[in-house]
Subunit: 148 residues, 2 copies
């Protein structure tokens, strides 16, 4: 569980380090141990059809993974990279973008933290969903790597 | 082969219809029948490590696919959607982003155009590569759908 100040500070970190996140209006909306939620307004992220742009959806899902790893590692100096990702656009997103990254299980996180501490390198697969009207609109799966 | 005016007009179409493309500084740099090239400056698209942000790389690859389909169909009223994509980040991109979408073979394009004309719906898999220093840095594969 993180308080509002940590969420605000993480949003500011994103805006400062990754300028596109400011143009997208991304903010860390919640992080409660079970999931991390990023939001971004449709007005800044729509496509030619008035729904959410696929590139914005992919970016916000990727950012949800980054943010979760930064908060889990509590180490902003860690070099967090994405190695690969797959995204499925199941239905259009017609409202503001809301990406939910579920925290992996305790065992996966313990392995990740242990590898990072011992080897200076750890890999983790993260899943992110974006909903629209209560239904899953987008499924994202990304392989992230943290390097000391 | 498209002249500079068509490339400029397609860039303006992207900036008008998908506002994030303006924030990314995306422009259609070339389209010669064999490939379509999109460029975007690193200054607007870097991450916390000073290399290209994965979300920007994914967005610029997706846009290269859209732009190729719009130019191939010569029909801006076509609803071009992306269904799914996979992206592999093989090495960091340290300079400006340059995404190259190769035009599919003549047979695949003829099927795509024929399906679109007859059924009002057509599907096409497009591959996009982003290079850095002469080596492939990013491999993207997207499944696009065009609807009348």
């Amino acid at each position: 569980m993180y308080n509002d100040e940590v969420l605000r500070e993480t949003t500011e970190f994103l805006h400062r380090e990754i300028p596109l996140t400011r143009a997208m209006g991304v903010r860390v909306a919640a992080c409660d141990g079970a999931r991390l939620v990023l939001e971004a307004p449709l007005a800044l992220n729509h496509n030619h059809l008035g729904t959410a742009f696929g590139g914005s959806l992919s970016a916000v899902a990727t950012l949800a993974g980054y943010a979760l790893l930064w908060l889990e590692l509590r180490d902003r100096s860690a070099h967090v990279l994405i190695q690969k990702s797959t995204i499925k656009f199941r239905r259009p997103v017609r409202g503001d973008l809301r990406a939910v990254c579920r925290t992996p299980g305790a065992a996966a996180l313990a392995t990740f933290r242990g590898d990072f501490a011992r080897k200076g390198k750890a890999r983790l697969v993260l899943r992110v969903q974006i909903e629209d009207g209560g239904k899953t609109a987008v499924d994202f799966e990304g392989t992230f790597v943290a390097l000391k």
